[in-house]
Amino acid sequence: MLQDGVVLSIFLRERGHAIFLIIYVDSLSGAPITYGFKMNGLKRKDLLDIQSLTTEEISLICQSARYFKDLFTRSVKTVPILRGKTVCTLFYEPSTRTRISFELAAKRLSADMINVAVATSSVVKGESLIDTVHTMEAMKADYIVMRHAASLAPHFLSKNIEASVINAGDGFHAHPTQALLDTYSILEKKGTLNGLRIGIVGDIKHSRVARSDIEAFKRLGARVVLCGPPTLVPDEFKIYDVDISYNLDEILPELDVVNMLRIQRERQKGSLFPSLREYHQQYALTEDRLGRCRSDIIVMHPGPINRGIEIDHRVADSPNSIINEQVTNGVAVRMSIFYLLAGGTPLEEMEKV
């Protein structure tokens, strides 16, 4: 007899694909619930940026994220999909939510999780990135989840190592898992991105989230407008086929979704804008401004938020805000990514689970 908390997992083979079934008993209804997953997800080793994903792959990640969200928001949170696999998180930049989100996702899939704290590792003795990662590979790490301040560091790595590289943010370049969780969050609320008007507001120039979001949103048919001062929204972004506006008040009433980016205080020192006060006046999402938006507008923020700078306190906590849900969705989307990247791993091993 199945009990709550006991997961039965079975692999079946069908038409060359393995199917992975998870059966458990719902704690409320007592009814058995079955999930089936096909084990051939992404035909790639790495997840480096949105650009390299097909539109089908973006959709696939979002679709399976729905099942994982369902799974881990119930009482049973762990499934044995990645049992025996080792995931290393290697963060060369400070991060709270992304690192924890990846770690939780890996643990929910029963992987062994190693977090390399760069500040206390050999990196401070001057070890190069490539040597550090070769060391992890020598210890048979299967996935390297890396955040790095230098753009293209994960791409450089992926060309030189065997393990799967998952980009958790590189310089100003890409933050694909954030873009995927943003996409998933919008899909969950609106059902589609096709035809939606999405605004991204703030420091576009220095934002990896903006670059990856634009790419993903455009791919699924959204119309994107970027908003901020010209120093932070260069004309080169028109290459993405987006609109550019310097006036937030002008664009707000037409938006279905607004994504407020974090403004980094140090940008002011480079004279990219004269003061936080002036920035707030021009580009902050205030209660007053929210009042002039569509009633069903979704307010997003990749975090960490600067309350009172790019977004006002009450707006961040308003019913329109899905900022906390984005965090929850982040775990589901990252589980989905691990799961899909694991497609094609030796199934014999996993069948003994």
Binding site: Q51, S128, S151, L152, N160, D170, G171, H173, A174, R211
Partner: protein, 426 residues
């Protein structure tokens, strides 16, 4: 010892000669250029069938890293690489450790080069310690053998100091060679600022960082009537400024490097740090502007900016890897493939920027193929393909974005002062 080069197509860009001729070398001198020179006994015969016979090539911008970074390259080692690339003369840039700001160091380079296969002409620093504060003892440096002055690697930011250098160097009739970059404007950028830098999220170096300094320097050359040579021009806008200055009679010359007419910043995505150099690869418009600048003669010189870096320095995050690529061994194949084959340059036009032009700018007295000239000769098979790979590149540092490419133009022989220094089993 006499050498006869038979059956070759002799090209001398200085005189415009382009004909099937034989070349007779006696000792260190070209003794005769004529059709069907009879082979005497005891004379070494080189069959140049299907090849072009050129004056020995000159690269007026290389980094041989000695003294200071002998693990990357040395004067002798670099000279061997240059000979293999078809070069009989090179000018070494002074950004070594220590920098070349006194006569003893210039003499050291000359002495060391004597043990190598080719001619090495040192360029000395414009400012003491390359600090950009005071000009060097230029008279002493010229006496020691310096053929020009440059703080290459960094600009002379102070306008008044640049003015003084241009004025003072006039009495020696040598050029001030500038690394034109407003480093405040380039602001720690990594690649060209534009669509590629935006898509890849890399900090950009705007072309204007180069152009504003070139504009300043040509105006200072006009003011002082000094001789200005602008190193590694990469932007089309720079060509416009130099064209304007030349039309006004300013004594300015300039060079570009093969990578600027062969590649664009798009190469960064694939080759990462191997395509990172300063100034950076620009756009397709700039690349074609380099080709047109060479065609029209606004660009006087092709120089490689040969910059060896160790693999472990380049195998880093793009942002942390040093600027620079090697170029001595790929220069001839790129000139032949890109300029001659793809853009229809005559052989004279393609090789003038590698022979007589740099010689005239620096007063080297080489770069011509005529009776009585120094027997510096390069023999190239323009139809033979080479594959740029680990074994083709003999340079100890292999930092090049051209790795894996197949190109036309194989250097068959390099002869320096009447001596075969590359080819024929050497």
């Amino acid at each position: 010892m006499a050498i006869i080069i038979k059956n070759g197509r002799v090209i001398d860009p200085a005189s415009g000669l382009d004909a099937m001729m034989d070349v007779h070398i006696t000792g260190e001198i070209v003794s005769r250029i004529a059709p069907d020179i009879p082979v005497e006994s005891g004379c070494e015969l080189i069959d140049a069938k299907g090849c072009i016979v050129l004056p020995g090539l000159i690269d007026m911008h290389v980094h041989f890293r000695e003294p200071g970074s002998e693990d990357k390259e040395t004067i002798i080692g670099g000279s061997i690489v240059a000979a293999k690339g078809g070069f009989t003369s090179v000018c070494t840039m002074p950004n070594t450790t220590p920098v070349i700001d006194n006569q003893a160091l210039v003499r050291f380079i000359k002495l060391e080069a004597e043990k190598g296969p080719i001619n090495v002409f040192p360029i000395a620093n414009i400012t003491k310690g390359a600090r950009g504060e005071e000009i060097t003892e230029m008279g002493e440096l010229v006496k020691g053998g310096a053929v020009g002055f440059s703080d290459d690697g960094k600009p002379v930011l102070s306008s008044i100091l640049m003015r003084r250098a241009l004025e003072y160097a006039r009495m020696f009739d040598v050029p001030i060679i500038t690394h034109s970059e407003d480093t405040l404007l380039s602001d720690d950028g990594i690649i060209n600022e534009g669509v590629t830098s935006t898509l890849l999220g890399l900090k950009g170096i705007p072309r204007e960082a180069e152009e504003v300094m070139i504009a300043r320097d040509v105006l200072l050359a006009r003011l002082t009537r000094g001789r200005l040579h602008i190193a590694h021009v990469s932007s089309g806008g720079s060509i416009e400024i130099i064209r304007w200055a030349k039309s006004r009679g300013v004594q300015v010359t300039c060079e570009t490097a093969p990578h600027y007419f062969a590649l664009t910043d798009v190469a960064v995505e694939e080759h990462l740090s191997m395509a990172k150099m300063n100034p950076p690869l620009r756009t397709e418009d700039d690349r074609t502007a380099m080709i047109e600048g060479l065609r029209s003669g606004v660009i006087d010189v092709i120089a490689t900016d040969h910059a060896p870096h160790l693999l472990n320095e380049k195998m880093q995050e793009l942002e942390y890897a040093p600027f620079g690529i090697i170029g001595l061994e790929t220069a001839v194949p790129l000139v032949v493939s890109v300029l001659v084959k793809r853009n229809g340059f005559t052989l004279c036009d393609a090789f003038r920027p590698l022979t007589v032009n740099p010689s005239n700018i620096l007063g080297l007295g080489r770069g011509e193929l005529k009776s009585g000239a120094a027997a510096d000769i390069t023999i190239i098979d323009p139809e033979k393909k080479i594959l740029v790979d680990d074994s083709f590149i003999i340079s100890r540092c292999k930092n090049t974005p051209f790795m894996g490419m197949e190109l036309y133009g194989s250097v068959e022989y390099t002869i320096c002062s009447g001596k075969v220094v590359y080819g024929g089993g050497i």
